[in-house]
């Protein structure tokens, strides 16, 4: 499911993660778990499924993947909020739990390597751990093995998707034009590539 949805929405021809179809039971279970949190969010700013700790980790990871440079980064684009919505309402329970286990695992790696949880590391140390995760993904791809069980695959696509489809990402990073008004078949390269819409 995931693969088709994502392929349809972004540039074609990419190797993307797959997630198995939902079962009715897991859907209802998920609905029960998140029901009251959704209600709270609609009233204010409460997170749907992420705890404060998980939210801080997701925010830090997203900003490491797409940092602020000459344009705003993932934090300014509120990628953590997008991840929270996706985990709550788009992922099924198994997928959500797997993702959250990935955060626990990252903290464990952090303690093993540096003696402190991920959020206690400086940016250089955090980057070391991320390089490790990214290398594992690259190795899986090189072996033509599925990447959908890997936490960082999901963290990365959610970050990229959440960033570039945000108002900040689309207008400031991509300089997206909603109604170009013309088709120029062979113009100069712009930030917004020809196929990037939706």
């Amino acid at each position: 499911m995931l693969r088709r949805d994502v392929i349809r929405a972004v540039a074609t021809g990419l190797a993307l993660p797959t997630i198995d179809a939902l079962t009715p039971d897991s859907m209802w279970a998920a609905a029960r778990v998140i029901h009251d949190r959704i209600r709270r969010t609609r009233q204010g700013e409460a997170l749907l499924v992420l705890t404060e700790h998980q939210n801080a980790m997701v925010s830090a990871l997203a900003e490491l993947i797409i940092p602020e440079t000459d344009t705003p980064g993932a934090t300014a684009a509120r990628v953590n909020r997008f991840v929270d919505v996706m985990l709550a309402e788009w992922f099924d329970e198994d997928e959500r739990e797997a993702f959250l286990r990935g955060l626990v695992d990252l903290d464990a790696r952090s303690v093993n390597t540096f003696g402190t949880p991920f959020l206690g590391l400086d940016e250089v140390q955090q980057t070391v751990l991320l390089r490790g995760l990214d290398a594992e993904l690259a190795a899986l791809r090189q072996l033509n093995r599925p990447t959908n069980d890997h936490f960082f695959q999901h963290m990365k696509w959610l970050t990229l998707y959440g960033y570039y489809t945000s108002e900040v990402g689309a207008t400031q990073e991509l300089e997206q034009v909603i109604a170009p008004g013309r088709y120029d078949p062979c113009g100069p390269v712009r930030r917004e590539a020809s196929g990037q819409w939706e």
Binding site: L64, E89, W157, L160, P180, G181, P185, C186, A193, G195
Partner: protein, 563 residues
């Protein structure tokens, strides 16, 4: 059952591509016309959201995955059924159908005023005598009762109103339309086109897609502004849909009555007059049953819905469905194959990119079995495709993160060119639909059981598409060419057709050459169900022309008091 007191000159069932044309042609000819649409009314001002940016959608365009899985498990297999446009696709739970376990069929449906003309892909190609003579030549199906000369003026007629952009080629197998100026090819497409020309001369030709999208202002509708997601609607009415072109023209006559939420359960047969007297409608909102009467009935509900209505219209004379004395109603279901093709990298043009989202690709007209017979399969296919440069999306499968990664994604990826074939499907009686009386839809109307599978001819052709596409790309200088074959189930191409075929002989066909029922002459069926063979061209333009031609014939017959 309630009885509507108005006696209409004509009743049109369905408001999509065919129904919209019937409404326009019949009202403009002076007929008081009732159009019945099963789905809701659509207001472009509020329902069209093509300019809403991704961030205004909760899932940023990825769609409400759980809702889609629950309510639209079939519809979501269509690329256009996204977060903004899924509301234009039918609810699979309210509108069930069934298939045997080993014969998947994806029935993609629109159920609203405008039907699928709101989300269609707008590709518009004429059939030729290569197509109209195909059945007679190889013996599959029955001979078409018409030839290209019969329909050519009607193609002219509908094209002048609808507006088809494209390039004149002068090819016998793909006659030119009444074109508006063509959209341009981008640099990579131009490169491939020239390469194919060098390698194949006039035998294989690449042209820009012929699309029902305006490149100049036309008949009060604005030229395309290249925003991209046409399937979400078009507030400037730049692509053809019944909602924003034919239905408004019909309404302007003052003779159109459009009734949404009107589920036509059956066409009513009157044994005394040996004619249809009208239709039985179930109001989709109130569940009230109402009979509407009309002198002629145009069934334009889409191939499978029209067939279902006729199969459900039983009487003492027509125990197996209205106008089914031949037994062919429901048989000979076809769709186009899709999924054989190739792609690769186009070298160069690194400082160039296209600006604007062109709602159209390229087209390579059929070249198999045109002048010489292919040893492995009958009939042929055309290619659709295009070139573009990938954007940030490629980052999801690219190593790296951080500032350099972010800035690298600002540069577009290499030019990639892809070709995908659309192949003809042979008409065969073993592909058929029947009524499953045990399974009813939300309104109590018995549903279809669909039996459809590709034959060896289609599968062999699919393999040839992949091989030929790769050969052509390589011959044109495209690099790293990869071919692929995806065996999509029938239905997904959304060109389903053929289940009330036209023919010369009432014993072997349902309709005559004017889409008129052989058995019940005041019943016309002018959508895809009338098709005697499928060709390989996207068929909507042909449905438009067949409808307009049938309307002119019906009006003439009514004037002569023969109807």
């Amino acid at each position: 059952m309630g009885m509507n007191q108005t006696a209409y000159d004509a009743i049109v069932v369905g408001s999509g591509v065919s129904g919209g044309w019937a409404a326009k042609e019949l009202t403009e000819a002076g007929l008081e016309t009732l159009v019945l649409e099963a789905g809701r009314a659509i207001d472009p001002a509020t329902d069209y959201v093509e300019h809403e940016p991704a961030w205004s959608f909760r899932f940023r365009g990825l769609g409400d995955r759980k809702s889609l899985a629950r309510r639209q498990p079939v519809q979501r297999t269509c690329y256009a059924c996204d977060e903004a446009a899924s509301k234009f696709f039918a609810d699979d739970i309210d509108n069930p159908y069934s298939v045997p376990d080993d014969k998947p069929f994806l029935w993609i449906r629109g159920r609203q005023v405008g039907g699928r003309s709101i989300m269609w892909a707008r590709q518009s190609y004429r059939l030729s005598d290569l197509d109209f003579e195909a059945n007679a030549r190889d013996g599959y199906g029955v001979d078409w009762p018409i030839r290209y000369d019969d329909i050519a003026p009607w193609y002219d007629h509908v094209e002048r109103f609808a507006g088809i952009s494209g390039e004149k080629l002068g090819l016998a197998q793909l006659p030119d339309s009444q074109f508006l100026p063509p959209m341009p090819m981008n640099c990579a497409e131009q490169f491939v086109k020239e390469g194919i020309e060098r390698a194949y001369g006039r035998e294989r030709v690449m042209t820009i897609g012929r699309a029902a999208v305006l490149t100049v202002d036309h008949n009060g509708r604005a030229a395309c502004h290249y925003c991209g997601p046409c399937h979400r609607g078009c507030i400037t009415r730049s692509y053809f849909s019944s909602l924003t072109a034919t239905l408004p023209a019909a309404a302007a006559t003052g003779r159109l009555t459009l009734r949404p939420n009107s589920v036509v359960a059956e066409v009513l047969y009157d044994a005394d007059t040996d004619r249809a007297r009208g239709v039985r409608v179930i109001d989709a909102v109130t569940q009230e049953e109402i009979e509407f009467r009309g002198r002629v009935v145009f069934v334009c509900a889409s191939a499978l819905e029209s067939t279902r209505i006729l199969l459900n219209s039983t009487s003492t004379r027509f125990a197996t469905g209205l106008g089914n004395s031949s037994g062919e109603l429901g048989r000979n279901l076809m769709d186009h194959t899709m999924g054989g093709g190739a792609r690769g990298m186009v070298p160069g043009f690194t400082d160039r990119d296209a600006f604007g989202r062109r709602p159209n690709g390229i087209y390579i007209p059929r070249f198999r079995n045109v002048t010489t017979a292919h040893p492995d399969f009958l009939r042929g296919y055309g290619f659709q495709g295009g070139a573009g440069r990938s954007g940030w999306g490629r980052g999801m499968s690219m190593p790296g993160f951080g500032a350099d990664f972010k800035h690298a994604l600002r540069e577009p990826g290499p030019w990639r060119m892809s070709l995908g074939g659309f192949g003809e499907c042979l008409p065969r009686p073993s592909n058929y639909v029947e009524i499953d009386s045990d399974k009813k839809d939300k309104w109590g109307v018995p549903t279809l059981r669909i039996h459809c599978a590709w034959s060896d001819n289609e599968r062999t052709m699919l393999q040839d598409m992949a091989v030929a596409a790769a050969e052509m790309l390589e011959a044109a200088g495209v690099q790293d060419v990869e071919s692929s074959v995806v065996d999509n189930p029938p239905g997904l191409t959304i060109h389903e057709m053929g289940t009330a075929r036209m023919g010369r002989d009432p014993q072997t066909s349902v309709l005559n050459g004017y889409c008129q029922s052989h058995d019940v002459p005041n019943v016309f069926v002018t959508d895809g169900s009338a098709m005697a063979s499928s060709g390989n061209q996207n068929p909507s333009l042909t449905y438009m022309a067949l409808t307009a031609r049938a309307c002119a014939y019906a009006v003439d017959q009514m004037k002569r008091r023969e109807l």
